[in-house]
């Protein structure tokens, strides 16, 4: 009898803990819809911010800016992350991979604002201006360790027998790696990329002194650019009620983007499981 009760209680506690995991997200999402839903309309997606006092306006420039920054970050993060991950998984000599793996984990733990300082020193100072390029570099550096480690792990999951089949067919090693191993790992790598994108989409700190933000359409990659996260930050600390509502709506759009990207990542993983069974 006692055993049965203990079992029930523990079952309940574990279930409740699992339920608590989704609670914060549900609360955040619900609160955002409550606060920002009313400001969210077509205009929000298609119009520019209005000056203080004028009602309406949107964050079209920030939405586009975030997409541009994500695109630039991918230009940095994907080639380095994917090729590097491939190397970690395939290298015969374990010494360099060990060091790289360790440092990648360290890089993953570096506060994002520090990475912002890195991009500031490397791009903003020499160029003497804030720019989309600097923001993209900062976000790209944040992507690298995530993409690197997922790629490595997924490539390791590709059965050795497939590699052998390719080699035995008389294919050179690099062709086996690119055309068979990488292709087989494709779905998993896509997932890793999505996770990394979801991670950087909402980054604010590294953009503060790189992309800087912009109340207008950006006028070139070497110029400051708006970003949703930055705009939300700027509006949230402003003293105007109107802007507060816009900030809520911006946050709602941002979290929805992350949600959609994560969902896409999940669906891509499903494909992978079917392939490797």
């Amino acid at each position: 009898m006692k055993r049965l009760i203990v079992n029930r209680v523990m079952n309940f506690l574990a279930g409740a803990a699992a339920g608590l995991v989704i609670l914060p997200l549900v609360l955040v999402f619900g609160f955002l819809v409550y606060q920002g839903g009313s400001s969210l309309n077509l205009e929000f997606f298609t119009h520019m911010p209005k000056p203080v006092g004028e009602p309406g306006g949107g964050m079209a420039n920030a939405i586009v800016g975030t997409l541009i920054l994500i695109g630039l970050a991918c230009c940095v993060g994907l080639p380095i992350g994917i090729l590097g991950g491939l190397y970690l998984a395939e290298a015969r000599d374990p010494r360099l991979p060990w060091v790289v793996r360790f440092l990648a984990d360290v890089l993953n733990g570096v506060p994002s604002i520090v990475i912002g300082i890195f991009a500031y020193t490397l791009v903003v100072l020499p160029m003497r201006r804030f720019s989309a390029l600097a923001g993209g570099l900062a976000l790209g550096v944040i992507m690298i360790p995530i993409v690197l480690r997922t790629t490595e792990e997924i490539v390791r999951l590709v059965p050795a027998s497939l590699r052998e089949a390719g080699l035995a067919l008389g294919l050179p090693n690099w062709k086996v790696t690119v055309r068979i191993v990488l292709v087989t790992a494709r779905a998993g790598i896509v997932t890793g990329v999505m996770v990394a994108i979801a991670r950087i989409a909402g980054e604010t700190a590294p953009l503060l002194f790189t992309a800087f933000g912009n109340r207008f359409w950006h006028s070139g990659l070497d110029q400051p650019v708006a970003a949703l996260a930055l705009q939300v930050f700027a509006y949230a600390i402003s003293p105007f009620d109107d802007w507060h509502r816009q900030a809520w709506a911006g946050a709602l759009v941002l979290i929805s983007m992350v949600f959609l990207v994560s969902l896409a990542a999940r669906l891509a993983t499903k494909g992978l499981q079917r392939q490797t069974r």
Binding site: R92, P159, S161, L162, E164, A165, G166, L167, A168, L169, G170, L171, P172, K175, R179, I180, V183, T184, R186, Q275, T276, R277
Partner: protein, 252 residues
């Protein structure tokens, strides 16, 4: 000159451990040579030395001479990739490329080597699948994933993939060990067909299989080739005591 595979003084190591000792044999062209012996006796390593797949394993090396139709596979300057194009291989577990369709699997060797022409590919795929006795079963679902086939079909697809590049030799490393008797019978039939065009070397744990499909048989034990001869003689009148013990089931 087509005289099959001639091996002399082959030694192989994994790190410091020697797994093949001074092995020599001649697998004649257009014949089937079976290799039998208990697990871990070096049969698989032996066939992997023939197409230079042994050296792919970290720490593995080998010495000795392997002549493929008269040309030394280990001569300096010989590219292992070219050797593997001439010596195809089928593995123990069927390993079709999971992201590719049946068609793409059969075409993989040519396509990844740069052949683009659609007519050529179609021709080659159909010929290979017919050779592998798979064509009639899959001709209407060539676009389906290679891993959606049954185990026996997958193994025949792997055979098709290997013969599509028209190798001179086909190595089969226990090709039936993961298959049921019906699928096994199909593959054995296929072996008898294929030998008209190429030289076959098959590793098997199944002595009946060796007796059914091969003209020559070699018996391996602890990394040494104990006996090599005409299959019927080796099974009915073995010269070596160890061979006799093994085939009569006294060990292994």
């Amino acid at each position: 000159m087509a005289d099959g595979v001639q091996v002399t003084g082959l030694n192989a190591w994994f790190g410091a451990r020697q797994v093949l000792r001074n092995v020599g044999l001649h697998a004649p062209a257009n014949g089937v040579t079976a290799l039998i012996g208990p697990s871990g006796c070096g049969k698989s390593t032996f066939v992997r030395c023939l197409n230079r797949m042994h050296e792919v394993v970290p720490g593995a090396r080998s010495t000795g001479q392997v002549l493929l139709n008269g040309e030394d596979v280990y001569a300096p300057g010989v590219d292992p990739v070219m050797v593997r194009r001439r010596i195809g291989m089928v593995f123990q577990k069927p390993n079709p490329f999971p992201t590719m369709s049946v068609f793409d699997n059969a075409a993989a060797g040519l396509r990844l080597a740069g052949v683009r022409d659609k007519d050529t590919l179609h021709e080659v795929v159909e010929r290979a699948l017919r050779q592998a006795a798979l064509w009639d079963e899959v001709k209407d679902e060539l676009h389906k994933s290679g891993s959606s086939l049954s185990g026996g079909q997958q193994q025949r697809l792997c055979i098709a993939r290997a013969v599509a590049v028209q190798p001179e030799v086909l190595l089969m490393d226990e090709p039936c060990s993961a298959l049921d008797p019906i699928a096994t019978a199909k593959i054995e039939e296929l072996i008898l067909d294929l030998k008209k065009e190429l030289t076959i070397i098959i590793v098997t744990h199944n002595m009946q299989q060796a007796a059914r499909v091969s003209e020559w048989t070699g018996f391996f034990l602890m990394g040494e080739l104990i006996e090599f001869g005409v299959t019927r003689d080796l099974f009915t009148a073995p010269r070596e005591k160890k061979t006799e013990d093994y085939i009569t089931g006294r060990f292994g």
